[in-house]
Amino acid sequence: MSDSFTISIDGRPVAVQPGESVLTAARKLAIDIPTLCFLEKCGPLNTCQVCLVKLNGKLVPSCGTKVTPGMVIESETEEVHEARRTALELLFSDHVGDCLSPCHRLCPLMLNIPLMLRHLEAERWDEAIATVRQALPLAGVLGRLCHHPCEQGCRRGNWDDPAAIRDMEKFVTDQDFQKPETHLIPRKPATGKRVVIIGAGPTGLAAAYYLAREGHSVTVADRQAQAGGSLRAVGENQLPVAVLDREVALLARLGIDFKFGVELGQHVTSEGLARGFEAVLITVGELAPAEGAKLGLALAGNSIKADPNTCQTPLEKVFAAGSAVRPQKQLVKAMAEGRAAAECVHRFLGGQPARRPEKPFSSLMGRIDPGELKAFIRSTHSGGSVAPCDRCAGHTRPEAAVESSRCLHCDCRSSGNCVLQHYAQTYGANASRFRAERRPFEQQLQPGGIIFEPGKCILCGICVKLTEMAAEPLGLAFIGRGFDLKISAPFGLEVEAGLERVAAECVQHCPTGALVFAEKKLAAANGRGATSVDGNSAESGQTA
């Protein structure tokens, strides 16, 4: 069109049509302005104020601001980002719910425990092992030896017993090992980069697992004749050697090359290795007195000197981690150090500055009181922990399914699929910047399979607008005002009553986990049949 004109965003010109919004213009320049309440068909709702940009010295929402000729917009500046971050942080200060469950957050290896349990409950064994292997190296070992901090954080423990998470890991791996071909985690295409890891203990093996999956060529060397390091010293009753061997074999199947009888400082030197490999990771375990001097590495006391944030030693290309740097008392923490080192090395190999993995963002609802707990309990198996009939054989499949169904599902159903969470991570939002009394957790289980959690609603208004546009007979409305504003169907009816026509659309466009389908409904939609996946559906007629 001839009447198009140019505006400037962050100093870059962009051609626009009259009537376009600043947001649309920015997207043409591939500037990712965050939005929560914006949905094209609804028009600008101007509620979230997360899409702020600066115009003429003032912050304006880009979704509702129309372009005018000669407009000069600032978007990616620290000032604008701070305002957006503050908007996100304000939303989180009134966000009742955890993105990630406490068990998930407490796991040093970030295993998505509730997901594993939901798979088990639904008897999706393949998905369960995939979930476990995705996060855990030596899962069979951890399933026996982990000191399970996850279970200490499990909210079910405030009611009766925590979910038997470690036992479920053991169950999952045991099941898998019974199959002719055990599950192998996918490997990314080869990068051509070679990494050598000295020390085949828990830290080294964990690092090898993560690095191999990234497509790097990994060699693990150890002065012993077998991999496992200190794990070899654990008694048979706690960790059968066969289990350890199967886990190591799995690592070999992943393409990891093992060299045994190789000792650093005797057969090889760090400098020498650094010449032959793109990266060297030293995970030799706790050093015996005076042993350090032989390694040819800078020392701090009797430990190898390495930057805690990057795992880098003063020697180029040489990294160190695990008990060799700082003694590790817990197996899972030693392996988490391996994970951190792997991330550092991986980033380094990719030409980026080395740093430990970022903690995934999570909204935090904190302690929940007995009343709220009840709301969670309602949709789970009501009994205490399910002990296996045969202690040695462990849980049977039905036992595992029941035990898993005790999980409260206190993580968010939208985690990983949530716009709010996504931008919080991107903007480095601090979910607890504003300390405040939080509202009680509330979960409305709707008969038709929708779950509405009002505490997670950010009042974007998209669902209100969609019901209005669809001329829903009842529809949804903003109720009240100010801080007490909420979304509800008219006349105190349940949300689902207002969603006769556009339920799926509202769930799809809800920017958070406030409006979701229960798993049962989801599974049905995905053609997986109506297996009772979600304990919620068992009593789905109830409403909080």
Binding site: N46, T47, V60, T86, F434, F483, F491
Partner: protein, 877 residues
């Protein structure tokens, strides 16, 4: 109990079936049922185009709608600024205790009383104010609550309901004497209506030929009920602080009634004599002052004032159209329509002749001839429209020429707008946007349909100027709005008035009805161009040789439903359209796309009240008043910790010191003037050391306040500045529409920190966070409410940081924050047991003749013991 659904049907029949009828329908339902029964709401949805979602959203948005029935009596407690600083919280606590209303509920278990906090009742000079049923009670205190409720029930039992004063418009030909009784809302709250009726009855009983006449606000709220007696001789005398019992004596004193016992007269006269003149007024319950300026307090109150928006205050019957006409009313509008008005002779007694000592109320009135009664019977000669293109001055022929040819044409409109522009008039609603510019934008729009709206949603706690103007000068505001309509080309005008101002609503409605009856509204403004109604005494004079065209204008009143945010233009429009009052992003501005997407001019009440004067007296005359950038006058509601509160109108540029110390008489004896809060929740606190700041838009902004709508609350050393900041944040939190993140949650988080400060639980990082967040909320909010909400915090942080520091250390220097203070009884206690008897929570054991002790755990800091102690033995630390 089944609900009578015919009420719902009747409401629909009255208000209509369109979506925009929703709020009026709900108002009717609320009024009739006392709440909104669900069955009735469902019925409305069935019988109209209104959706259930709309009903649910709107009904829950506005304060006036309730979903539960109220108790038998509704006790409204004002939470305005003036009431707050005067201890409204304690009164509310005391009422709750006394009426046994459980925590978290608003109605007692027996269903007798419902307590309802109101953002501001707009009767700030009577603070703290409680309204029970229809009666407004001022100067309440916690310890007076039981007495107050007893009186209320006693009155109820004797059924002494006060008669309305709203049907008192009749004129009595031949009457030469008048008694003017100020009948604004606050005057009435202090018993002016009872006095009014008592005077009438006394006059009638005595067969005295005197007209007892209702007039609008007299401004001196601190002295009401107040009357002015003018006799045939033109002599006027003022009485203040009267009660109905004085009525007979007053009539006797001035009008020699027939058939009364001489003795009684002598006795009463003696009583009045004792209350006369020259004695120190403040010690008497009934005060009298003469209209000569003998009373220094009156002189101080009035000397600095200039009355434009409140021209002829205390003189005019608000609803006497003829009287308004006799005082130049509608002359400006007539000229805009290219005609002149021939006013009907005023039927009442002649106002004082010029040679008489003129009333104090007129002393400082600008445009002095405007009140000259001799002109009221003659055809007015008006100067040509100021700003008209190059016309000569003062020649009637010229006037005619312009008006004939340019009637409501572009040129006339241009003349009006350029006059407003030249006058420098800026919006009195808060932001001070140049009015002429706004008018021009609307005038330039080419749409066929345009609207003008008078914004009477005066929501600032501590402000009541607009209420007073609407109650006292409804015709003036109508004239202003009509001129605006002509100037911008609108044919429909709406008065948006908050429902908390029932008298204002009533009077504007009555004024519109009178004009409609006269054929002056509707098809033809002022009846210009329309056939004359044969029975009407007045007529419109046409300029020679031309038949002016008629200008159609329809006016209506839309009652707000209780939402502060509706003062914001886009929210106000949403409200009229039948929606939740949630603001929209601007642009587009209402001037471009407002009501029903049509260009809409929205002006504040006071702005419109200034317009007729400007057009009559010329832009230059208005621009000569005030400062370089802020022209004319500003009306302020002066209240708080001050001796003489009231309604004042001063030239822009008057200093805060002049207002507080000269007009208001300064802080009460023994107290120190600390700061003034200007601009309400969007404004700030100006400390006493900056009292020489002139009151104009720019200067106030510089010191961190804003003009706002004109609430001016004086604070003294008993006012805690952190508490004031908390108070305003609480207000904005309560009133936030909740639409955007920064306002909905941001102001809440600020309030959290202020709450912690006021209870001694805040840390330094939290104080720093408060400051940081204040800036971010201001920058990130969608509308003006959120953008300005942090101002009270920022300005107190700027000038009173030491008080914030003290609160961090757990100390409240003003001893206002109750958790930071402690009551103790010292050795002066004689053991009289009064405190123990009065303590509402039994925190003081009765120990006769021995020093009493307060149980700190039980003490609610209601202050009662300290007030009742005759020995000043109760200390507050």
């Amino acid at each position: 109990m089944p609900i009578d659904l015919t009420i719902a049907d009747a409401a629909v029949a009255r208000a209509g079936r369109k979506p925009e009828a929703l709020i009026p329908i709900l108002q009717i339902l609320q009024e009739r049922y006392g709440y909104l029964p669900e069955e009735a709401l469902r019925r409305v949805c069935l019988t109209t185009d209104i959706t259930p979602a709309a009903v649910a959203g709107v009904a829950s948005f506005y304060d006036m709608f309730r979903m539960q029935p109220t108790g038998k009596h509704v006790v409204r407690v004002c939470r305005g600024t003036a009431c707050h600083v005067a201890g409204a919280e304690r009164v509310e606590d005391s009422l709750r205790r006394h009426l046994q209303i459980p925590n978290g509920a608003d109605t007692d278990r027996a269903g007798q009383y419902t307590i309802e906090p109101v953002a501001c009742l707009g009767t700030c000079t009577l603070a703290p104010v409680v309204r029970i049923g229809e009666s407004t009670l001022g100067y309440t205190t916690a310890e007076k609550v039981p007495e107050l409720m007893r009186d209320f029930l006693a009155n109820l039992a004797t059924a002494t309901a006060v008669k309305s004063t709203e049907d008192q418009g009749e004129h009595r030909p031949g009457v030469r004497a008048e008694i003017h009784v100020g009948l604004g809302s606050c005057c009435m709250a202090k018993g002016s209506d009872r006095l009014f009726h008592a005077l009438r009855e006394s006059a009638e009983a005595g067969g005295v030929n005197v007209a007892v006449k209702r007039v609008g606000c007299v401004g001196m709220c601190h002295r009401t009920p107040m009357i002015e007696i003018t006799t045939a001789a033109g002599k006027g005398e003022f009485y203040a602080g009267l009660s109905p019992e004085h009525a007979a004596a007053l009539v006797q004193r001035h009008f020699q009634p027939r058939g009364l016992v001489q003795q009684a007269r002598r006795v009463w006269t003696r009583v009045l004599d004792s209350l006369l003149l020259d004695a120190p007024t403040e010690q008497r319950s009934v005060q009298h002052f003469s209209m000569s300026k003998r009373d220094p307090a009156v002189r101080a109150f009035l000397d600095k004032q200039v009355h434009i928006a409140t021209e002829h205050f205390g003189k005019l019957d608000p609803l006497d159209l003829d009287e308004y006409l006799a005082h130049d009313g509608f002359a400006a509008l007539a000229r805009c329509l290219g005609t002149e008005l021939l006013a009907r002779p005023h039927p009442g007694p002649l106002p004082q002749e010029r040679e008489n000592p003129s009333s104090v109320f007129e002393q400082s009135s600008v445009g002095d001839s405007s009140c000259d009664s001799r002109t009221s019977q003659s055809r007015r000669k008006l100067s040509p429209l100021p700003g008209g293109e190059g016309q000569g001055e003062g020649e009637a022929t010229h006037t005619s020429k312009i008006t004939q040819s340019l009637l409501t044409s572009a040129a006339t409109r241009e003349a009006i707008i350029s006059t407003i522009e030249k006058s420098g008039l800026r919006g009195r609603g808060g932001a001070g946007f140049p009015s002429g510019q706004k008018w021009r934008v609307v005038a330039q729009q080419t749409n066929d349909t345009k609207y003008v709206i008078c914004n009477g949603d005066e929501g600032d706690p501590g402000a009541f100027m607009d209420r007073m103007i609407l109650e006292s000068f409804p015709f003036r505001v109508i004239e202003g709005l009509a001129i605006a309509a002509v100037a911008v080309g609108a044919r429909e005008g709406i008065f948006y008035i908050r429902h908390e101002y029932p008298l204002a609503v009533k009077r504007v409605r009555a004024a519109i009805a009178q004009l409609e009856q006269r054929g002056w509204l509707g098809e033809s403004l002022l009846g210009v161009g329309a056939p004359l109604a044969p029975t009407q005494g007045e007529r419109v004079a046409k300029p020679d040789g031309g038949q002016p065209q008629s200008y159609p204008l329809k006016l209506s009143v839309f009652e707000g439903a209780g939402a502060f945010v509706c003062g914001e233009e886009t929210a106000l429009i949403a409200s009229i359209e039948g929606e939740r009052g949630m603001p929209k992003l601007r642009p587009p501005f209402p001037a471009q796309a407002g009501l029903w997407e049509q260009p809409t001019l929205i002006n504040n009440v006071e702005t419109l009240a200034l317009v007729p004067w400007i057009l009559r007296n010329g832009a230059e005359k208005f621009a000569a008043i005030g400062t370089a950038k802020s022209k004319g006058t500003k009306v302020f509601a002066l209240a708080g910790k001050i001796r003489r509160g009231g309604l004042i109108e001063v030239p822009m540029g008057t200093t805060i010191r002049e207002i507080v110390e000269e007009i208001g008489g300064g802080a009460a004896a023994g107290r120190r003037f600390k700061a003034v809060q200007i601009g309400g929740p969007s404004g700030g606190c100006v400390p006493a050391r900056l009292a020489d700041t002139p009151v104009d838009f720019e200067s106030l902004r510089e010191v961190g306040a804003i003009m706002g709508s004109g609430g001016l609350v004086v604070l003294d050393d008993t006012s805690c500045m952190v508490d004031i900041a908390r108070y305003f944040l609480q207000f904005t939190q309560d009133q936030s529409c909740g639409k955007c993140t920064f306002c909905r949650i941001g102001t809440k988080r600020m309030l959290d920190i202020l709450d912690r400060l006021c209870t001694g639980r805040a840390t330094r990082p939290q104080l720093e966070e408060l400051e940081r967040l204040a800036v971010q909320v201001g920058a990130g909010s969608l509308c003006g409410l959120g953008k300005t909400a942090p101002n009270p915090v920022l300005s107190t942080l700027r000038y009173f940081r030491d008080e914030y520091e003290a609160h961090l250390a757990g100390r409240c220097p003003a001893r206002k924050c109750t958790t930071l203070i402690k009551y103790t009884i010292n050795g002066d206690c004689t053991g009289c047991t009064l405190c123990a008897q009065h303590c509402p929570v039994d925190a003081i054991p009765t120990t006769p003749y021995a020093q009493h002790v307060i149980d700190d755990a039980k003490c609610t800091r209601c202050d009662t013991c300290r007030l009742v102690c005759p020995h000043n033995a109760v200390e507050m630390k």
